[in-house]
Chain length 258, copies 2
């Protein structure tokens, strides 16, 4: 059943609330809506946005996630935005000295799923683009979420942070097996090694007059390439194949020993 955002929120099926504290750009709110809906989140709340609403840039950036924007609510304070929530997870770039649990996005998602499964209402809080959340807002949160990042370059924008948290929320209940189908265990040759062998083989076949009709040459060459690309020979197997082709080509001039 496909729910409207409002109905999903009313039944608690829209996932955790996403609370944006004092967002600065309408465009970012649109990107947040898009990131949320990609992972089934529909409950977006803004606290004191620094732009007017409705906002054309937000609508354009939402890329079709209008249901989230239409159901979005704006609040004058974080207290009011989170009044119906039991648990608030606050995201920060760097965890500060606070007497609160600190979680990865994955850890927070698992915990949020556990709480939501027990009937609690959960929200994820994100700060303004430039400054992030202040200690005053963090004080209202029950846990701190910090996304693991390259310490030498951590430049995650608002929509990306929401994307990763929403992704983890979705994954925490997703049943897709991580790998379907067989994974070969032998080391294959590199693409260049295989391409080198295929070029060699086709040249030898040309010399041997294998491609009798020029019109069929293209499709035959492609069929040979597909055959080898599917099987992904190892380097040792390629060496064996080189030997076979060379031997056959060298013997081509001589009468076969029938």
């Amino acid at each position: 059943m496909k729910l409207t955002a409002k109905a999903a929120r009313a039944t608690g099926e829209g996932g955790p609330a996403v609370v944006l504290f004092a967002p600065q750009l309408g465009e970012n709110v649109g990107q947040v809506a898009r990131a949320m809906l990609n992972f089934g989140l529909t409950d977006l709340r803004l606290v004191r946005p620094r732009f007017g609403w409705p906002n054309a840039k937000a609508v354009a950036a939402a890329a079709g996630a209008h249901a989230v924007l239409n159901a979005m609510r704006i609040f004058p304070s974080l207290e009011e935005a989170s009044a119906d929530l039991h648990h608030l997870f606050a995201t920060t770039a760097r965890p500060r000295e606070m007497e609160k649990p600190v979680m990865t996005a994955e850890g927070a998602a698992v915990e949020a799923r556990r709480l939501a499964g027990g009937g609690r209402r959960v929200g994820f809080l994100f700060g303004p683009e430039r400054s992030g959340l202040s200690n005053a807002e963090l004080a209202l949160a029950d846990a701190i979420v910090t996304i693991p990042l390259n310490p030498a370059f951590s430049s995650l924008n608002l929509a990306q942070a929401v994307l990763l948290c929403a992704y983890e929320w979705f994954l925490a209940a997703d049943r897709t097996p991580p790998v379907q189908g067989e994974v070969p265990d032998e080391p294959p040759a590199t693409k260049a090694e295989l391409a080198g062998f295929l070029a060699f083989l086709v040249a030898e076949l040309d010399r041997a007059g294998f491609f009798r009709s020029p019109t069929r040459r293209g499709s035959l060459v492609r069929a040979i390439e597909v055959m080898f690309e599917r099987r992904r020979p190892t380097r040792a197997e390629l060496n064996l194949l080189y030997g076979i082709v060379k031997q056959l080509a060298a013997a081509g001039g001589r009468p076969r020993n029938l």
Copy 2:
């Protein structure tokens, strides 16, 4: 040790190659570079980009990830872009009928880490923004990566797809524990329930003349709020506290039984 992108690639420390097939917008390439560097990836390769290079929009969108753009390489074909790779993971929105393993981003990251740990060179392939990869490009890949998404709304752009794959690659070796610090197991009251109790308590304290000095009232009220917010009382505990406060306030007029 902080490596340049080129040095990182030479030593294999820059993580999997990210190969963009026929990207349409320079801006997206900049966002991809930023997403990559956030998770320590530095080896970016473009096949037949549909824009000129260098590209001012790419530089602006990279948000400081210049090392990735400076080391970026452009190739005339996918075969040349992947010539030195042993394994190519191709991302698609929907898995097609192919005799290849299909993986989630998480499954692919774990597999890529395993392969890279064994000395293999690995790449992730992403298609053009609008059309995605065709079957011809997918045929060159060893595995198909499909990111789990809300089936009713799957609108992931190029940089977001790269972000999620790079994030999973980073996580596959990240040692951050998912939760640090104690997570309370009792259901706390909602924020609104707690705020309601605190307002009631302060009103009773006002009536009882608790705040002797008006100048100190603000800091005392804040100290009370912090005390209760930190402990997050359950709804049952709140009811108990209501009872206690009411009883004390009602008894306030009567002489204490010493």
